[in-house]
């Protein structure tokens, strides 16, 4: 099957003042595909993710269905945002503290589907809340009244409200227990199958990345150092950083901090 990529990133570069967070990076993402993105803390993963959605200034080209996101008008960008969604890394900090959960989830619907009736809107919100494992009586609560993992799930629910075509997930399961991690990951996969969503999935959890990804990119110090199909990457990592990363994955019952696994 031949299809042109949904997202084509070429020579994307992110600079903060004199500091280069992301050196020219190029990759493609196909419809319905999941691209894992792993790498060192501070290697530029979040910056790259934000640059794709034009949330930080960047140079290069980000083609979305052959339209350059980095060059389109603001009006056009607002329209595109309906299809492009992101789950942010810091769940609490990314939710407006003065909005109740019900309003946080209603907001994207108000903006992009204003014709929806009140009842239909409530129905969609309740359904999503249920799918991320939260109770309906939490709708009137404020973000600070939730646990870390609950905030993360609110972020996930909000990002999925509009069934986006591209979902950028920046550490979407990091503060969840393994069971709810599984629940959210399964939910993302369901959504992907149902709506053919493409995903860029950033995580430090190598087991989850291995589970969900078709291909994996590895970043180190602002560079893309390795790119391979998921099976290849985990079976035969090439770059020394990728090897160190896989060797450092902790295992239950093993003693902590095996120095040999460190760089």
């Amino acid at each position: 099957m031949i299809h042109s990529p949904l997202l084509q990133v070429s020579d994307l570069c992110v600079q903060f003042g004199a500091f280069t967070a992301v050196n020219p990076v190029s990759f493609d993402l196909n419809e319905g595909e999941t691209l894992g993105l792993v790498g060192e803390s501070g290697s530029g993963k979040s910056s790259l993710a934000r640059a794709i959605l034009r949330l930080v200034p960047a140079t290069g080209v980000v083609l979305w269905k052959s339209e350059n996101i980095l060059a389109c008008s603001h009006q056009r960008l607002r329209r595109l945002r309906r299809d492009l969604s992101i789950i942010f890394q810091d769940p609490l900090a990314s939710l407006n503290p003065r909005m109740q959960v019900g309003d946080l989830l209603a907001e994207p619907l108000h903006i992009f589907e204003p014709a929806l009736s009140h009842n239909e809107r409530q129905r969609r919100i309740l359904k999503m809340l249920d799918r991320v494992g939260l109770h309906a009586n939490m709708l009137t609560q404020y973000p600070h009244e939730f646990s870390g993992g609950q905030c993360q799930r609110i972020g996930v629910a909000r990002a999925m409200m509009l069934q986006p075509q591209l979902l950028v997930c920046d550490e979407p399961v990091s503060s969840l227990d393994v069971s709810i991690q599984g629940q959210i990951v399964n939910l993302l996969v369901d959504l992907q199958i149902e709506f053919n969503t493409a995903m860029l999935f950033i995580s430090h959890n190598m087991a989850v990345v291995r589970h969900i990804s078709d291909r994996v990119l590895v970043m180190y110090r602002g560079q893309l150092v390795e790119s391979a199909s998921c099976d290849t990457l985990f079976a035969a990592p090439v770059h020394p950083y990728t090897r160190a990363l896989l060797a450092a994955v902790p295992v239950i019952g093993a003693t902590a901090a095996r120095p040999s696994a460190m760089l």
Binding site: G42, H135, E171, S174, V185, V249, V251, G253
Partner: protein, 331 residues
């Protein structure tokens, strides 16, 4: 020997328009000098709030009951002056969400130095030097440049390392680390764990480690408490609990854990059902509705934590393994 931290029958409730959320229920825990206590459990089970209560920094709508002794002194309900002397210096906490616990409009250097200026009456010059040294120690690359950065200019992992460094500046006797490694890549995770180990050895630091990462907890903790719906449901020595889990929740949690050695599955395993609504008080076991071993008694009578309380007994802690279950797995 006296435990440094002794929590007895701690209850935390939050008043809300829709009811009272009973987030922490009869939690009894103790932490011995130099010990590491691991706390694991379901998202929303009260891990963070229990230790927010210890720090005396719960939201205004919270109601706390029970007893919290720090170095032999009751600190629950202590005066703000007493608390301020202890908190942030001898008793510190690294928060789960590093972005929202740093002040956005102050540089990292200023925020770190301020801790020493306030608590140890250091000069700004000395404090800034100590801050730089600490950033190096927690492996923040290019530490000198980062000191001049604002929180949003750091990556998630760096912010977390800054928070850990900040909490260690005053050489505390107890550090409560809430998910200290979640935003870090596994190589840096290993470094942070090693750092915490070194601090335990060097400073005699006692550590509370709250984490969803069972592998990390199992590698570091001397004793581990498992929480479900606000209660401790099982507790044992670090080496023991995951090999010989007794509570069906712990067993189910372990079944959901996958590592790189496990086969790639179509779907990740999850627990069926949902955690109970914390505004309700169930007569029986909170886990019964999701438990494959539940019988009629489980829905009617709440199982007590078997060895009533798990007091600090450094040596025989190895053998003590209380569990709150009518039908525990045999170990």
């Amino acid at each position: 020997m006296q435990p440094v931290l002794n929590i007895k029958q701690l209850d935390v409730k939050f008043k809300q328009s829709t009811g009272v959320v009973h987030a922490v229920r009869q939690v009894t825990l103790s932490l011995g000098l130099g010990e590491c206590l691991g706390v694991v459990g379901e998202s929303g089970s009260g891990k963070t709030q229990a230790f927010m209560a210890v720090m005396g920094i719960l939201e205004k709508n919270a109601l706390v009951q029970g007893s919290i002794q720090f170095e032999g002194r009751e600190i629950l309900g202590a005066s703000p002056t007493t608390l301020n002397r202890i908190r942030g210096a001898k008793l510190t906490m690294v928060f789960q969400d590093p972005m929202s616990s740093l002040t956005p409009h102050l540089t990292i250097g200023t925020q770190m130095a301020e801790v020493l200026v306030v608590h140890q009456k250091e000069s700004w010059g000395n404090a800034e030097r100590a801050a730089l040294q600490m950033l190096d120690q927690v492996r923040v690359p290019e530490a000198a440049r980062r000191l001049k950065c604002y929180p949003h200019e750091l990556s998630g992992g760096m912010r977390q390392r800054v928070m850990i460094g900040m909490s260690l500046l005053c050489k505390p006797s107890v550090l409560i680390a809430d998910e200290p490694t979640t935003a870090l890549d596994v190589t840096v995770q290993a470094q942070i764990i090693k750092l915490l180990q070194e601090m335990r050895a060097e400073l005699g630091l006692s550590l509370v480690l709250i984490s969803h990462d069972l592998a990390i907890v199992s590698g570091l903790a001397d004793t581990i408490a498992v929480m479900y719906a606000g209660r401790i449901v099982e507790q044992s020595s670090g080496g023991n609990i995951f090999q010989h889990a007794k509570h069906p929740y712990t067993v189910a949690l372990l079944k959901c854990t996958s590592d790189l050695a496990s086969p790639r599955l179509d779907r990740l395993p999850t627990l069926q059902g949902f955690p109970p609504d914390l505004t309700q008080e169930l007569p029986g076991c909170d886990f019964a509705a999701r438990c494959s071993r539940a019988s009629e008694i489980c829905r009617r009578v709440r199982p007590e934590l078997s060895a009533a309380t798990f007091e600090y007994r450094s040596l025989d802690a190895q053998s003590a393994h209380p569990v709150a279950c009518h039908h525990p797995y045999e170990s």
